[in-house]
Symmetry: C2
Subunit: 349 residues, 2 copies
């Protein structure tokens, strides 16, 4: 064990603060990473504040991690000291279930180990995330970060990037497809960039007219207000795929009406209360309402390589570690374009 610096929530109602964290000594297949940047995902806030229940305090959030390899175990072959690498939402999985053997570790049937507030595969060792100077991860779950991208913008790709890339690929978005994105936040802005890079004709659906300019800058070809009933009527039957990133209250049926025959709406966020669905909305047009959870390790690497090829990173605002509590408040109020990323050098001082 090594003592490293971290920032933790000690209780739901307390701000995050400095915390001395015991990090495991790298085992034979482990990679030790000096963390350079850690993205701030809304899940971090939900967990730090125990809004989903089940938070094990103290919790060190952070699952959008970019860093430099600082040590490797003797059996590690994939990474070398000095490599720039990434760690996403999970750090291990059982490795032998059907889903793991199909590179779908995110759906591991025996439970994957999430990057924080979870257990390693021994089902005993609690995991701590990226708001820390170092992390130790088994090599398979460490991603190679392409050299041509600004690292602070890469961090959010490990969650927001793969969460939007995976469904766009799984539901086979191709050149000319009409894709709509609901909600322009951390996930939404990545969905626009990625779908656009895949050649889709992208429409941003939003309740906020002031987001139109940004949507265009990010790559959206159209911007439509969902608050305008005429717009909604005009768009009926328009889209092959809708990426719905909203985790607040939703009107699924209103969006399902915008799909073409065989169209698919992908849910990436879970509203606080269940939404009603009209079976008729699905039956007329053989439509699909589906969900998707991040992506597997193989697909995450593919996403990073795709982003390198297309020069895509997240739009970020870099903060110092001690600005984290303010960043949480601003994230909650939607005052971020589009992801806070902690410069982890600020934790060492």
């Amino acid at each position: 064990m090594t003592l490293v610096k971290a920032y933790a929530a000690q209780q739901a109602d307390l701000p995050l603060g400095p915390f001395d964290l015991e990090r495991r000594t790298p085992g034979p297949k482990d990679v030790e990473i000096e963390i350079l940047y850690s993205g701030v995902c809304h899940s971090d806030i939900h967990t730090a504040r125990n809004e989903w229940g089940g938070t094990k305090y103290p919790v060190v959030p952070g699952h959008e991690i970019v860093g430099k390899v600082s040590a490797v175990g003797p059996e590690v072959t994939k990474h070398q000291i000095g490599d720039i690498v990434g760690v996403g939402v999970f750090v291990d999985s059982c490795g032998h279930c059907t889903n793991c053997s199909e590179d779908l570790e995110q759906y591991c049937e025996n439970g994957h180990s999430q990057t924080y507030n979870s257990f390693l595969q021994d089902k005993k060792t609690i995991t701590y995330g990226g708001y820390s100077t170092h992390i130790v991860v088994t090599e398979k779950f460490v991603l190679k970060v392409p050299k041509n991208l600004p690292l602070e913008g890469v961090a959010p790709l490990l969650c927001a990037g793969i969460t939007t890339y995976s469904p766009l690929r799984h539901w086979k978005v191709k050149k000319g497809d009409k894709v709509a994105v609901v909600g322009l936040g951390g996930l939404g802005h990545m969905a626009v960039k990625l779908a656009s890079a895949m050649g889709a004709e992208v429409t941003m659906l939003s309740r906020s007219p002031e987001k139109a300019k940004d949507a265009g800058r990010l790559g959206a070809h159209h911007f439509e207000l969902t608050t305008n009933p005429e717009n909604m009527k005009k768009m009926a039957g328009s889209f092959h795929l809708i990426i719905n990133t909203v985790s607040g209250q939703n009107d699924y049926n209103a969006y399902l009406a915008l799909l073409k025959t065989d169209g698919v709406m992908v849910l990436l966020g879970a509203p606080p209360e269940m939404e009603k669905v009209s079976a008729g909305s699905l039956i007329r047009g053989r439509k699909s309402l589906v969900g998707s959870l991040v992506g597997g390790i193989k697909e995450t690497q593919e996403m990073l390589d795709f982003c390198a090829e297309h020069g895509i990173v997240s739009d970020v605002e870099v903060i110092q570690m001690d600005q984290i509590n303010e960043a949480y408040e601003r994230t909650i109020s939607g005052d971020v374009h589009y992801r806070f990323v902690i410069d982890m050098a600020s934790l060492k001082k």
Copy 2:
């Protein structure tokens, strides 16, 4: 125009009774059919009683039709006088929209012509269904009935058969797939027969223990009670596909929990009120909640040929035309195994 005999509902609260119907003289591409059997679908009852609204009285229901070609127009090439043919849920469509050009006339973007209580493509001529001695249909929408099947059991294939066959094919059910069927009625019994013939391992999910024996006879490999919480827990993550035929109140989330990763639940019935869906149920396991509406003409012919190959027909109870009102009551109370079919010879007398 020719005057033919039919049975019609004249008003929502009146029983069906004899009706003199004007049938069009066959045009150049029309086929005139002497109807032998007409299945009784629950939709007939909803429409006759205006339970969905929009019924145009008098209405002649019936969209599971088997008959013998009695006349053909001079340009008809597909059918000959004396051929045994079928007519299903619709009798025409625009023919030029994207969906029609992909053999998905059921989703015609300009509105297909349903077999009854609808309009022909002139948007003026009301359609009348199979509770009649004759029907005239444009040749493309007339199916060839294979010679080796008992005709009374073929009639329900034109609606119940294709409605279950189409999603089983579209979501690519193959040998060894685990398929569950919810609800053992007109649709459910066909889903069991067809999925089983496709090589799937079929589980009937039901609230009624007395249906177990019949489920097995129809081809189900397993029977599980959904009222037993232990059973439901045991089945979590079991199925590739669930065919949900229930049009009454439902619990979508309970069934979604039974799907494997990437599993699909197909809704074929529309509950009277919208059901709640937990986004988390879909996200964890990349599951799909989808709907499906009958099938196109090409696929309906494929289904009839598949049924001929596998010796599949619907289980029916043949009735006389004047028993129709009693049959409606028995259908509503679930007292039918599994479809009433009218012997249309009984109307001529």
